[in-house]
């Protein structure tokens, strides 16, 4: 109530913005107010106008129509522009691109120096900002020597040094590994507690759920502005009610605003709904496990620990596609700046398997990937790539590279042809294909990735949306129809719908018995691999089926996080319900719980709830069984 009476920090009224030469507005008639101390998440699919909207907040874009006021100041007046930018700071997506100086403290001082502040004041601000983000000990270090997470913290320190009222994070966590991301999110909480307004543009619904308010955009229009609870858990008016939900909000709702936009829901909400519990946004796995365990009628059994589920991962008999034999690799080998990236790697990757490489930024997973197709050659040891040693002086490296092509991070950045189909044809043409065979190959793979040849062949490559460009980049690699394919973070920086569709394509490749090796920061994706290799500080620290890795061998020091289902299973275990097997997704976890219930061991109310959802066949579980 107080907020509505206090003046808004940022107020937009009927604002529209169109980029020069763009066919349609990027922002359409948006009105909103953000108050001091708010923690707002801005969500929407790629191209929905999120980044444009936040650039209107600090005068990096000026509206074609409508008014923007920041603390009562109109940024379109030149006299106000720098006062507005001082109040609303912006942290960008790519850590390295926004750093101005080559020395950490100089970079933080850049903003205050631009404000012409006296040196002692700049020094005070730099020290304070670096202390808040925890980089005091790095202040004299070259910025390029900082890790990705540290660079992003440095960017936040640079924003803090302006002493702003509001910091906007424009997908600022999307390029970070799980540990760095958690650090930055915690920092946002700390800043909110200190009274700074936080605006977080994000594709991650778990991150969005941490905020107090969600603003959703769709094709430049504001389509939702309200609480995360309403956004994720309340059906839109007129939507069909869910099965067996009654009128309780959050239980089995038909279509929530988030679902209507194809943005998904936070893991906690998804789990609660799956188990038929009231949805609590931003709930910890521990809290949800407590609620689940409170449903017990009889005390759950404990089986003394988890078992490996060997049958879930059938033995692969085709032999190895790749093998590392005592591989060590150093960048800038033999120079003063030599950096050891991988040490003593011995590993065999089974043919026809889907294998995930995981690890924090700088752990060596991308290096390991590039060694597989001879883009890098070991400093010591040997890599055998589909039967060919890459260190063999007679090896045909071009052939090795084409037999296991690498889709780099953001493969769309390697697009170079004007028209979409021409870019996909590049690889197959280099393989010697031409004429009808080439057209057929291109058609096939454009269709598979969801860019139908008939309608996309003459589309401008650079005019496609973010998700489409990623698909096109992947199609260019997949169209080579190689026996193996290497993918470096194939779904990074995409909206949830695009992430899902790209990963579905990756999974679909397994049906051809193709060997797929992919690096990822998403443990949900790693959990869908048949094998997971964990890299930590340049060494392989674990390799095996994901169930084994995440349940039995996981160490928090790896900095990789856990799939949500595993976090929940571990929380359930602490709450007294040990889960048999190693379920890696919520469906499997639910099945495991139901199986345990079938055996009369636990959770009667849970059975009742799941029966309502039709999960158990009628008559399968009699009242008297428990």
């Amino acid at each position: 109530m107080l907020k509505t009476l206090s003046p808004a920090l940022i107020a937009l009224e009927n604002v529209s913005f169109t980029y020069p030469d763009a066919p349609s507005p990027a922002i359409k008639n948006i009105s909103l107010k953000i108050y001091k101390g708010d923690y707002v998440a801005i969500v929407g699919n790629n191209g929905s106008g999120k980044s444009t909207l936040v650039r209107l907040f600090n005068g990096l874009r000026l509206p074609n129509e409508g008014t923007v006021l920041v603390d009562g100041l109109d940024p379109s007046l030149r006299a106000n522009l720098y006062r507005v930018r001082q109040r609303v700071a912006l942290v960008f997506q790519s850590p390295v691109d926004q750093i101005v100086s080559s020395c950490a403290e100089e970079d933080v001082a850049f903003g205050p120096a631009n404000l012409s502040l006296p040196l002692p004041e700049i020094e005070r601000r730099v020290s304070k900002a670096l202390a808040i983000v925890g980089l005091e000990n790095e202040r004299s270090r070259p910025t390029r020597a900082l890790s990705g997470g540290q660079q992003q913290k440095l960017a936040i320190a640079g924003a803090l040094a302006m002493e702003p009222s509001c910091i906007v994070f424009d997908e600022a966590t999307s390029m970070l590994d799980p540990a760095s991301k958690a650090n930055v999110l915690d920092l946002m909480d700390t800043l909110t507690a200190s009274g700074i307004t936080i605006v977080h543009v994000t594709h991650d619904m778990d991150d969005a759920a941490r905020s107090g308010r969600i603003i959703a955009l769709d094709h430049g229009e504001l389509v939702f502005d309200g609480s995360p609870e309403t956004f994720f858990a309340q059906a839109e008016p007129g939507a069909e009610p869910g099965v067996g939900t009654g009128t309780e909000p959050g239980v089995g709702s038909a279509t929530t605003p988030a679902q209507a936009l194809g943005l998904g829901v936070p893991k906690a909400a998804e789990a609660a709904e799956l188990f038929g519990l009231e949805t609590r946004i931003n709930e910890t796995p521990e809290s949800l496990a407590q609620r689940l365990s409170a449903l017990q009628v009889t005390v759950a059994y404990t089986d003394g620990g988890h078992t490996e589920s060997g049958n879930l991962y059938p033995e692969i008999t085709q032999g190895s596609a790749f093998e590392y034999k005592g591989v060590t690799f150093s960048y800038l080998s033999g120079t003063a700046n030599e950096v050891r990236a991988l040490s003593d790697l011995d590993l065999r990757l089974p043919a026809g398997a889907r294998i995930a490489f995981v690890g924090a930024t700088g752990s060596g997973k991308s290096t390991a990937l590039q060694l597989l197709d001879a883009l890098l050659i070991p400093s010591q040891g040997e890599v055998v790539s589909q039967g060919h040693a890459t260190t063999d002086p007679k090896a045909d490296l071009k052939a090795i590279r084409m037999s296991a092509p690498l889709a780099i991070q953001r493969p769309e950045s390697a697009l170079f042809e004007v028209h979409a189909a021409d870019d996909v044809a590049f690889g197959p043409r280099n393989q010697g294909l031409s004429g009808k065979a080439l057209v057929e190959r291109v058609t096939k793979w454009m269709n598979i990735v969801g860019l139908p040849y008939a309608s996309y062949r003459d589309r401008l490559s650079r005019g496609l949306s973010g998700g489409e460009k990623r698909k096109l980049g992947l199609a260019g690699v997949l169209a080579m129809e190689s026996e193996a394919v290497l993918l470096d973070e194939p779904t990074s920086n995409l909206d949830p719908a695009s992430q899902k569709s790209i990963f579905d394509i990756v999974k679909g490749l397994s049906s051809d018995n193709k060997t797929i090796v992919f690096a990822t920061h998403s443990m949900e994706e790693a959990a869908q691999a048949q094998f997971v290799a964990v890299f930590h500080e340049g060494r392989l620290v674990a390799f095996g089926p994901p169930g084994d890795i995440f349940y039995n061998r996981y160490s928090p020091s790896w900095g990789i996080g856990l799939p949500y289902a595993v976090r929940l299973a571990k929380a359930l275990s602490k709450a007294g319900i040990a889960i048999r097997g190693t379920p890696l997704n919520l469906e499997d976890l639910k099945t495991a719980l139901i199986d345990q219930a079938r055996q009369g061991l636990s959770l009667r109310p849970l059975q009742d709830l799941v029966c309502k959802e039709g999960e158990l066949e009628e008559g399968e579980l009699e009242e008297g069984e428990l």
């Binding site: 600090n58 990096l60 720098y82 930018r85 700071a89 912006l90 960008f92 390295v96 691109d97 926004q98 750093i99 101005v100 100086s101 080559s102 020395c103 100089e106 001082a109 850049f110 903003g111 120096a113 631009n114 404000l115 012409s116 502040l117 040196l119 700049i122 070259p142 390029r144 640079g158 924003a159 302006m162 960048y331 800038l332 080998s333 033999g334 120079t335 003063a336 590039q370 883009l375 050659i377 490296l397 071009k398 590279r401 084409m402 690498l406 780099i408 493969p411 950045s413 390697a414 697009l415 170079f416 590049f426 690889g427 280099n430 393989q431 650079r462 260019g476 690699v477 080579m480 290497l486």
Partner: protein, 284 residues
């Protein structure tokens, strides 16, 4: 063929933090050493002067705890270009070249004067690569900008904004490894798809087209980066004028004595080379 790792053979642009006395020199002083050595390498009228410039650069590098092999590493990738440039000297006869002719075949000739020129080009190019490599090995990117700003400050006016120039230089230098890394990544991406970048193409247009898969993405990505950086600077209130200047490092007597001695030494070598060595060694 080896790893696609561009930086392995480049020492220019790689700061080596070896904590030497030279590292602690003020940035402007390092520029003076750089310019002195450059003048010696360029202006030396005989191979003796060029060799001496390499020797002085080596001594300075050793004093800076920089390995000579590290500096020489950069010579290798450009050696074909240097050799080609040098060999072009043999292609046409120089006017007024009356020196001894060793060989003549059509437009191709080898004379004493041309051999002299080839040796000079090889030595001077090598000296320049070593000198620039030394400078960037002991000077951080921000010091490169600061030194330039300190040296040019007397010329600062509204038509020649020294601070902006220095910032542009330091930003460009900072982005060299980033863009080179990007180039490396695109080469890897396209090599995976079988790109040969025009290898074996005799037609100049086919050769140029072979490089499109490389240059188009790198240029587009560089422009995207430039746009983000420009926005990041604007968001932090950069206007190009009125910034608070960093404090100046105090002058040190030892540094001034060193610089005076060093410049005097270079001048001495240059004069000695001009009036003694070049006349003594010049065979024509």
């Amino acid at each position: 063929m080896k790893s696609l790792e561009f930086f392995r053979n480049i020492s220019i642009g790689q700061y080596v933090d070896s904590h030497s006395w030279f590292h602690r020199l003020r940035p402007a002083a390092k520029y003076i050493v750089l310019f002195s050595l450059t003048v010696l390498a360029i202006a030396a009228p005989s191979p003796v002067g060029a060799v001496l410039s390499i020797c002085v650069a080596f001594v300075v590098a050793l004093g800076s705890k920089i390995r000579l092999s590290f500096l020489l590493r950069s010579v290798k990738p450009v050696l074909p270009v240097i050799v080609l440039t040098a060999l072009l000297q043999f292609l046409f006869a120089w006017p007024n070249d009356t020196s001894t002719v060793f060989l003549r075949a059509g437009i191709f000739s080898v004379t004493m004067y041309e051999v002299w020129l080839v040796i000079m080009i090889l030595l001077k190019a090598t000296a320049m690569i070593i000198i620039v490599g030394w400078f960037t090995s002991v000077t951080t990117e921000s010091d490169i900008a600061r030194g330039l700003e300190d040296l040019l400050r007397p010329l600062d006016n509204k038509y020649f904004p020294v601070h902006r120039l220095a910032l542009a230089v330091s930003t460009s230098i900072r982005f060299v490894p980033i863009v080179a890394g990007e180039l490396e990544e695109i080469v890897k991406a396209q090599s995976s798809r079988g790109a040969d970048f025009g290898a074996g193409k005799k037609n100049v247009f086919a050769l140029a087209r072979g490089y499109l898969p490389l240059f188009v993405p790198v240029i587009v990505r560089s422009l995207e980066r430039a746009e983000v950086l420009a926005e990041a600077m604007e968001a932090r209130c950069y206007t190009g004028v009125g910034q608070t200047q960093p404090p100046k490092a105090p002058r040190q007597r030892g540094e001034i004595i060193f610089l005076l001695s060093f410049v005097a030494l270079i001048a001495l070598v240059l004069i000695g080379d001009s009036i003694y060595f070049s006349a003594w060694i010049r065979p024509f």
